[in-house]
Symmetry: C2
Subunit: 360 residues, 2 copies
């Protein structure tokens, strides 16, 4: 628990002075005030995270964590479990969706085995395996409380190593056949919402299988009785190994003063766990897109995050995070690179218009 | 009229065979079918535009057109008219929002003077000036029908020159103090909606000025009586010189089989004019973002376009188009660069699941 506790206690609020300086610069840039919307507010937040008025995004890394799920025994997914391992190999070979989008956005991809069921011996895959897949949450806890701590601490260490190696932006990604089931369970526990709102079709199950998946999630919550006030309990009882690793990486990014771009449904479940352990870390999260998975919108609302991209995606892997990493870098560049009214010799608003008239 | 008519008649439908081949390839790529959402449908459309199953996006150019508006005499904007010229100089010097975002997205910026009121003699600005600003639409037509044709034909030629020089993607951008007023007028005419829905605060006017702007737009429509069935009449009576140029560029892109990324409110008004002249050109349009300007959503609905970015932007200049150009290129790369199930040795869906069960 030492690493976890010291990391949480080292997470500090955003730097107000840097944010104020960034806001003041925005108001001098050659555009109507506020007209770049989210790019402006995001760049101000980056200033607060980095503690400097002109934030710079350089090296960007998407951390993709892999884990298997005992609950697949209940028939909650359309894909067989071995696909987790096969997709890890696909990531290492550069052929998956995340590889293409990360290359396109100038991000590196770091693949971490947090708990794939089969042995993974693939070059380029970092092994932080806590156990070989979770237990079936419909019958008991996914993992022990000690294993949940181990996942979080592995994630913290992975993020810290990337930051030490120069990463200025991190993103989350996941792979794990069956992992929309624990993610929906996590959302159900934290939000108290009905499974009709929190559970969706994952990789593409039909109506009958969806009803079954909802029953399995209700059963997992009935059997385990996770405590919504204790993120560690929720993670251990109805979570996943890659979800725990990602929650740890989110805490590690906040402790290292680096923005963390949150991908889709599974990543945002991890973000809920991290926010439960340390609410301050929400200030370091950047929402990327809204997934087709219906509970994702509710997750983002619970966290107070506003997504930038509406692309009807539901792949995970960090694909949304890679695209949003590019937008985040754009936000930083606008603040640094645009000319001011004075530099460009551009007139500001008409003086005859009163402040009240001009203000919005 | 020769260039305009021959361009319109040269615009042909999307290539069905190329789109079908692209769809079939998507279903063999290592992801659940359809899980990349809009990136998939967009890449299929790119195949249809380029007429090949693996579309390639190389050189990207944002065409930013500038024009002034006689209606500023009615006090519809917070900025003085000379800002149009000053911003054109800012574009040429590389200091504006569009310059930063275009650099970030790997786009070139082409600045065209379609009708700035003052003389523009700035290196790097292409002169296609049709007249020095429009007339005041609250008192009469913005321009003659011949001038409207000249704007469209200039835009067609600008797009054709970029395509000849190797552009594989074009985007639209605008500058022109006062140009949300003609854009709202165009939307009001084509949609038949009330000015309460079609007119917003532009660069940031207050409540009283907004009410005045709505009255001015009603007056412009009353005085000019534009024919909603005749795009050329709408453009001439309540349009703008940069709006006409952009409408022409949109037609030119479609004729040249190049996708055209549509920026915000003013660009989408131009898209409505282009679609009125040639409905087929809508298939070549890619919507970028939803502007804060309230009528923008209605414009996109009228055109059947779905935006990708929700960033609360309202700057224009092509800033949304530059960001969406990057997403469009990402869509093409996913289709070309992802591994298939067979190549990656990844299992497909469980066979025991029936088609109906697995299908969504």
């Amino acid at each position: 628990m030492d690493i976890l506790n010291s990391t949480i206690s080292s997470i500090k609020p955003l730097d107000d002075a840097a944010m104020q300086a960034a806001r003041e610069r925005h108001d001098r840039l050659t555009k109507p005030q506020g007209s770049l919307g989210v790019l402006e507010s995001l760049s101000v937040r980056l200033a607060g995270i980095q503690g400097r008025s002109l934030p710079v995004i350089g090296k960007k890394v998407i951390i993709v964590m892999a884990g298997d799920h005992g609950v697949v025994a209940e028939g909650v997914s359309t894909f067989p479990q071995e696909v987790t391992t096969q997709m890890v190999a696909n990531f290492a070979a550069g052929g998956a969706g995340i590889n293409v989008l990360a290359r396109h956005s100038g991000c590196e991809v770091r693949v971490v085995d947090m708990g794939v069921a089969a042995p993974v011996e693939i070059d380029g895959v970092l092994s932080r395996k806590v156990r070989s897949g979770t237990a079936n949450i419909a019958a008991g806890p996914a993992m022990t409380r000690e294993e949940a701590v181990a996942c979080l601490e592995a994630g913290i260490e992975v993020a810290a190593a990337e930051i030490d190696a120069g990463a200025t932006l991190l993103g989350t990604g996941d792979i794990g056949i069956g992992n929309t089931t624990p993610s929906s369970a996590i959302l159900t526990v934290f939000s108290g919402a009905r499974t009709g709102l929190t559970v969706g079709r994952g990789t593409g199950i039909g109506a009958e299988a969806l009803a079954h998946k909802r029953e399995i999630i209700k059963k997992a919550i009935d059997v385990n009785k996770p405590d919504a006030g204790d993120g560690l309990d929720v993670l251990a009882k109805v979570g996943g190994l890659e979800i725990g690793g990602l929650a740890g990486a989110i805490l590690g990014a906040a402790a290292g003063r680096v923005p963390m771009v949150i991908d889709g449904f599974i990543s945002t479940a991890a973000a809920m766990v991290a926010a439960s352990l340390c609410p301050l870390c929400k200030d370091f999260m950047i929402a990327s897109h809204v997934s087709v998975e219906p509970g994702h919108k509710l997750m983002l609302e619970e966290l107070g995050l506003k997504p930038m991209l509406f692309l009807d995606m539901r792949l995970g892997e960090g694909t949304g995070a890679a695209l949003a990493a590019n937008l985040t870098e754009a936000a930083a560049r606008v603040l640094s690179e645009m000319a001011t009214f004075a530099e460009a010799g551009v007139a500001e608003k008409n003086e005859e218009m009163s402040e009240e008239e001009a203000g919005v």
